[in-house]
Structures are given as C-alpha cells and as structure tokens.
C-alpha cells in the first residue's frame, strides 16, 4: 500500500464522482417498479397491461422523441395487451401441465437433497417460499 502524501492546503478538493450502473441500482419507471413489486402473478400481469405501464416505456427519451414514441405505443397498445395475455396464458398452461410432471420427476432429487444437505434444502425452500 503506497500512501499518497496529503494534498496541499492550496489545492482544490477533488470533484465528486458519479455512480456506476451497479451503484445506482435498477433504472426503471415508477409504473414498472410497482408492477415488479407486485407479489401476486395475476395482479402483476394486470399492471403490465395498464396504459400507464406501456406509456412509461417512453420515459428517459428527449422531448419530441418521447411524444412520438408514446404515440407509437398507443397504436400498438392492443397488440401489447394481446401479447401480455398470451404470455399469461402460457404461464398458466405451464403451471397446470408441465410443472406437475417436473415436480413428480424431480421428487427423488429433492428427497436426496433434504436428506443429505438439510441446511441448503431449507435455505432454498425459504428463498422460494413467498414468490
């Protein structure tokens, strides 16, 4: 470790530096943050379908461009609702058809984890308990 000699009294203080992407955290609009914070899946899909969420995707663009993008987003709004609905239906279809099969298929793996790595198993259960 090399110590830098203290800066002189007649020296201006170093200017404040900004923050990196990691230091700032996620950069999302209010509408999207609310949708992501929603714990219930149907409500989350409903929030994603709201016009407020769709219009907020133009946030962060310069003026004029923002309004133009919002205009385009209004035009594609029916398609957006359709896409989200199809996504929600696929999500539901997965949970009633494939998920139970996988759940039965991986039963032995879970059982062996519970027996051999109880702490890790409990931690995983806690992690996915309320999701």
């Amino acid at each position: 470790m090399t110590a830098v000699p203290p800066s002189g009294a007649n020296e201006p203080p170093p200017p404040q530096r900004g923050l990196t992407r990691e230091e700032r955290g996620r950069d999302v609009s209010d509408a999207q943050a609310e949708a992501e914070a929603e714990t219930s899946k149907p409500k989350q899909y409903l929030r994603a379908m709201s016009p407020r969420f769709v219009l907020s995707m133009a946030e962060g663009y310069p003026v004029v461009l923002k309004q133009f993008i919002q205009f385009c987003l209004i035009i594609i709004y029916p398609a957006w609702v359709f896409t989200v609905l199809v996504g929600a239906l696929l999500h539901l279809a997965f949970y009633v058809t494939i998920y139970p099969v996988l759940w039965v298929l991986f039963w032995p793996v879970r059982a062996s984890q519970k027996k051999n790595n109880p702490e890790e198993y409990e931690a995983t259960m806690q992690k996915y308990a309320k999701k």
Binding site: M1, V4, E11, P12, P15, R17, T20, G60, Y61
Partner: protein, 301 residues
C-alpha cells in the same frame, strides 16, 4: 465600423507540455491586437472527460429487454435506448483575467496540478487551459492542451481481492506479483499458483494484460461498460498436471505496452488495469477458470 472587422482571436500557450501532479504549469494568453468590447475574460483549468453513457430510455425498462430477443435482434436502428460516447468539461480552477476599459490585451496564469489529477489518456481525460472572453459581439474561445503523466509517487495502490471472471473454482488461481504498481513499457514478472481441489485434467495456462473504463457520469445514466482493451494472451504452458493436493507454480513475464494509459479516476469515468489469467482444462466438459488481479499502471518515473 467594427462590423467587418474580424475578431482577432487569442492564443493560449501552455508550458511545460508534460507535467506531473503537484507541478506548476503556466499559461500565457496572447492576442494579435487588443480585443474590444470585453465584459469578462476567464481562464479555466481542468480536463475534458471522455466517457460512455446510456443516451435515452430507462436502462432496465421492459422495452430494453426486447433488444435481445431473437426476432428483433436484426432490426438495426430500431433499438430501445442505447449507449453513446461523449465528453464533458470538468473545471478545477477558474481565474479571472484583468481587463482595462473593456479591452483585453493578454494575460497569464499559473496552475498547480492537483495530487488527485487523473492522468491524460485518449480514453479518459485531456487536460487544458480554456480561455473564454465574453464580449459584445462574438465571444472568443481558445484553449491550450497539456499532458499530465502519473508517477509512482502520485498513485494510490490498494490491494483489491482477486476477482473470478469465469469458471467454477475447481482450481484456485493466485496471480502473485512482486508489487502492484507498474510503469508503462515495463515487463511484469510474477507467478501463477494453481491449487486444484479435485483431480482435474491437464491444463493449458495463459495470461494477458487489460484495462477497462468504468462509466459513472454525475448526471447522465451510466453505460454498462466503456472502452476496454486487452493484450495478446501469452501462453504459459500446456499439459500442466492438475492433481488434488499438488499445487503448481508457473512463472510468467507480461510486457506492458509503452503507451499504456495510466490508472485514473475522473468525475465521469475511471480507468482500471488488470492481469487476467486463463486456465483451460484439456477435458472440455471441465471448462475454464479465469481470474483477474487488479494492478496500477503509471506512465512516468
């Protein structure tokens, strides 16, 4: 009468051209003939900071995820947001030059380069002395550039922990270097200590230098990354036996480029140097291991 008289302009001459932190640099402003109708004349000492930023849109918006989908990837020009290169002026000291009766004839100023000054490099900062003459009529702007080189006494060395950039850690890699501070053009002599935790297949080992710029603008949205560059990987050995409980030491010599930009932290971006070692197992299902050791590079004695 003054309507067709061209603004004379002014020249800023900075001496010396190359300075180190805590040294004094002086600027002389000269004009071909007196500049009239002047309200103020200011000299600003500072640097132009180059960085990358996210130019529009929320960086983590739901729409940004669509840039990466297979069916929209080829839609060039239709991306959401995106990153751009830019630069901003950072003022360190401001000096008002004397004007007499609305007329500016020249002036001079001295500046002590601060100890925390980021070193000059095309990837990060260009130091200059900027003259702005505000006047009735066209303003006069001029600047003189100088280079700040960083010596070993001016840089702060912190021993950062080794960073794993790839692999599962079946073999521990430690990059051992005699010091963390190197000069541009110097050859880094060190060794890599390989400690396998299980019987692995034989390994192929390589090492290279690299640097990257971090984007951390004050106001704008930061970009994910900035300029980064790495040297050619130097092969250190093939068929290195990696057996549990048998550590292996492999020496290396990595020459740094002579024009290496110095490690520096500026307001909107930073430049950091590292050595990256890569171990490839001969059995390809075992994958690779990659480790990074942060180092400090200076470009003056």
């Amino acid at each position: 009468m003054g309507l067709f008289k061209r603004s004379t302009g002014a020249q800023v001459t900075v001496a010396p051209d190359v300075v180190s932190p805590r040294q004094i640099v002086s600027a002389t402003v000269s004009t071909d003939r007196p500049v009239g109708k002047v309200t103020s004349a200011t000299l600003e000492w500072g640097y132009t900071n180059f960085y990358r930023y996210h130019w529009a849109g929320r960086a983590d918006s739901a729409a940004a995820a669509m840039n990466d989908t297979v069916w929209t990837m080829d839609q060039v020009g239709n991306h959401y947001g995106g990153e751009r290169d830019t630069d901003d002026w950072v003022t360190v000291t401001k000096v008002d030059l004397p004007i007499a009766a609305g007329e500016f004839t020249g002036g001079s100023s001295t500046f002590k380069v601060p100890s925390w000054a980021p070193g000059s490099s095309p990837d990060l900062a260009r130091w200059s002395c900027r003259l702005t003459i505000a006047r009735g009529g066209g303003d006069v702007d001029a600047h003189g550039d100088f280079t700040v080189v960083i010596g070993s006494a001016d840089s702060q060395v912190t021993d950062e922990p080794l960073q794993r950039t790839g692999g599962d850690g079946d073999t521990d890699m430690d990059i051992v270097v005699p010091s963390l501070l190197f000069r541009a053009g110097e050859t880094i002599n060190g060794q890599i200590l390989l400690t396998p935790h299980a019987d692995m297949s034989d390994g192929e080992l390589g090492i290279c230098w690299g640097y990257r710029c971090l984007s951390h603008p004050l106001v704008r949205t930061p970009a994910l990354g900035g300029t980064s560059k790495s040297g050619q990987t130097i092969k250190l050995g093939k068929g290195i036996p990696l057996r549990n409980g048998t550590p292996v030491t492999v020496p290396f010599a990595v020459p740094l480029p002579g024009d290496a930009p110095p490690t520096a932290t500026a307001v909107h971006s930073s430049l950091e140097w590292f050595l990256e070692a890569m171990l490839m197992y001969s059995k390809w299902t075992q994958g690779i291991e990659k480790m990074r050791r942060q180092i400090v590079v200076v470009n003056a004695p």
